[in-house]
């Protein structure tokens, strides 16, 4: 277990202020009670106002996308090929997004879980720290830097392809899946593991048969959230899979395939009214998928939590 402490409780239990001059200073009552109460009230109002502002922005964004995109949506919009700039459907983009994100998930999920298992089961103190630091660094990399790395690695030599975009997205997803899985695995009760050890089960059989199944819900949730994030990333697709040559549905990952964020970007930059409408329609589809995935993952997690009694 490599000496992992309880998450985040440690700092809080320390006496508050090693470096602060006098921690009780703000608690010394100053001025009249009425003034103090007024200041406190002002803070509450500000905090509430900030939260409402954020919710308002969220609602306005949703409203804008729905009101501008709903007009474009129809069955044929979702299921037919585009016929020209801003006309026809977006089926290739939907299928392309699915292909790219599916491959990225297929790369990132097993690796992410393996990394989490490494951190839990095998890592020493030092190596665990190095790996966690590398994960945090990867998570902090701007997607444009990740995309340009894959550009130098693949696209310069062999041209645009869906697989290149998938690799970039997998790098974006990897730290998200690894760290969340790590946290879920930390919650697996030690008694389960000890029981399997006591039965003489080998380390690997114990991991596969006992530890992973009890953490599966959390891992799936993390994967869905990461995939939803990846589905909305525009930059990797713009840099790595944008030279789409045909209007049909393409599923060969060795060629560039269209994807929803790319359709939105190119349509919108095109500026023709029909293309802009199509961009909003695509944005609505993309947003609906991503928000649905988020809500679904949350509900799944909540159900899972209550079942495990966490």
């Amino acid at each position: 277990m490599s000496g992992l402490s309880e998450p985040s409780a440690v700092g809080a239990e320390e006496p508050p202020a090693s470096g602060l001059p006098d921690p009780t200073a703000p608690l010394t009552a100053t001025g009249s009670l009425r003034r103090r109460a007024a200041v406190s009230r002002a803070l509450e109002v500000t905090a509430t106002g900030s939260a409402l502002l954020a919710v308002a922005v969220f609602c306005i964004v949703i409203y804008t996308v729905v009101s501008r995109g709903a007009g474009a949506i129809s069955f044929s919009f979702l299921t037919t090929d585009p016929t020209g700039i801003g006309t026809g459907g977006i089926a290739p983009a939907i299928v392309g997004s699915a292909v790219i994100v599916a491959i990225a998930t297929a790369i990132a999920m097993p690796l992410g879980v393996l990394i989490a298992l490494y951190l839990i089961e095998f890592a020493g103190r030092r190596s665990g720290r190095v790996v966690r630091m590398a994960l945090d660094l990867t998570n902090g990399l701007p997607t444009v830097v990740v995309a340009i790395m894959v550009y130098g690695l693949i696209v310069v030599g062999s041209g645009d392809s869906a697989i290149a975009a998938s690799i970039a997205l997998a790098i974006v997803m990897l730290p998200l899946i690894a760290r969340s899985s790590h946290q879920v695995l930390l919650l697996v009760p030690g008694t389960l593991r000890e029981a399997s050890d006591a039965l003489g089960v080998s380390r690997w059989r114990g991991v596969l048969g006992v530890v992973l199944p009890s953490a599966l819900g959390g891992i799936v949730t993390a994967t869905i959230l990461a995939a939803a994030r990846a589905a909305g990333e525009t930059v990797p697709i713009l840099l790595l899979s944008s030279l789409v040559t045909s209007n049909d549905v393409q599923i060969n990952p060795l060629h560039a395939v269209s994807a929803m964020p790319l359709t939105i970007y190119t349509d919108f930059n095109d500026g023709v009214p029909a293309a802009v409408t199509q961009a909003w329609g695509t944005a609505l589809v993309l947003m609906a998928i991503i928000l649905a995935a988020n809500i679904g993952a949350r509900m799944f997690l909540a159900r899972n939590r209550s079942r495990l009694g966490l």
Binding site: S5, P7, S8, G11, A12, P16, A17, P23, L27, R36, S40, L43, A47, T48, S50, A51, A54, F58, I60, V61, T64, V65, L111, L114, I115, Y118, F122, A123, V131, A134, L135, L137, T138, N139, G140, P142, V144, V145, I148, M149, Y151, L174, P175, A178, R179, S180, Q183, L186, W204, A228, G232, T234, V235, L238, L239, P261, A283, M287, I290, N294
Partner: protein, 298 residues
């Protein structure tokens, strides 16, 4: 075991590979322009003149603006969600704010162009100019709302949820007894927060703000849409500009020459260096509070 170790080593390989590829790609530009590339301010690909100065300026201004606006807002929301709001309200508003973080940046960018930019241009610009016009950064109203200022606002919207949810988690971990103790001594709610909650979580909040800054520095597509594409450094934030990341995605599909590509890699290298430094700083601060297991990745 071997598989796990392989996967773990892969994380380090990824970091090294990113650095290697970016540096190799940038090396023609590095050897030709040297470090002066970072602050030179001309960008003329057809004449082989490249300098990151004005992009770096726009990137720093927009990110600083996002940091300055998003940190207090995010902390206030974190306080609301952890300590002030009644529970039913928390369970509704908390997820909504996290959903805001889930909206893809391209959609926020689209919304920024269509809704936010006109609003900024018609209302915020004249208002700020009339009240604070004596400060040169609030220059006269422009013809479009596509500007450094709007880009900063869009970035703020994108990073507020990060600060909010991270700081909420920090505030929730502050022991209840400490707060109750302060309240029993007669402290008002604000005094409890000011005296107990904020001091115990200050480092964590700074780390959260740094993470948000890192995200803002590297954001490409939303900024590219709303920043307006100017290429001169202006004092006024209402003028258009181009950020480092926006320049990369705008030009990589239409390269003028080999050196152009190398210059774009050089820009990516600058982003990489800034990003890694910000991230390491955040990690160092977070580790000092001891929250490094839980905090940094959501």
């Amino acid at each position: 075991m071997a598989l796990c170790a392989f996967a773990a080593i892969l994380t380090i390989v990824i970091i090294v590979e990113v650095a290697y590829q970016v540096i190799t790609g940038a090396s023609p530009a590095i050897s030709r322009y040297g470090l002066a590339f970072v602050w030179n301010t001309a960008w003329k690909p057809n004449l082989y003149i490249f300098g990151a100065g004005e992009m770096l300026f726009a990137t720093l201004v927009t990110s600083a603006m996002a940091l300055v606006l998003a940190t207090p807002l995010g902390v206030a929301i974190g306080l609301f969600l952890s300590l002030l709001a009644p529970r039913p309200l928390r369970t509704v508003i908390g997820p909504l704010i996290e959903m805001l973080a889930a909206i893809p940046s391209i959609i926020i960018g689209l919304w920024g162009v269509i809704v936010l930019a006109p609003f900024v241009q018609e209302h915020l610009e004249p208002w700020l100019h009339s009240w604070f016009g004596f400060i040169p950064i609030f220059g006269p109203q422009q013809t479009t709302g596509l500007s450094v200022f709007t880009a900063g606002l869009v970035l703020t919207i994108m990073v507020v949820p990060i600060v909010a949810s991270l700081s909420r988690d920090l505030f929730l971990a502050v022991p209840k007894e400490l707060q109750d103790g302060a309240a029993a001594l007669g402290a008002t709610r604000w005094e409890v927060i000011r005296g107990v909650v904020l001091p115990t979580t200050a480092s964590g909040v700074i780390a959260a703000a740094l993470l948000a800054l890192g995200r803002a520095l590297g954001e490409a597509v939303a900024v590219a849409l709303v920043i307006g594409g100017g290429s001169v450094i202006h004092a006024s934030v209402f003028e258009p500009g181009t950020s480092v990341a926006a320049r990369i995605i705008n030009e990589i599909t239409s390269l003028d020459n080999k050196l152009h590509l190398a210059a774009l890699f050089y820009l990516a290298l600058i982003l990489l260096v800034i990003g890694v430094l910000t991230n390491l700083a955040a990690q160092a601060i977070a580790r000092r509070v001891g929250g490094d297991q839980a905090m940094l990745v959501r």
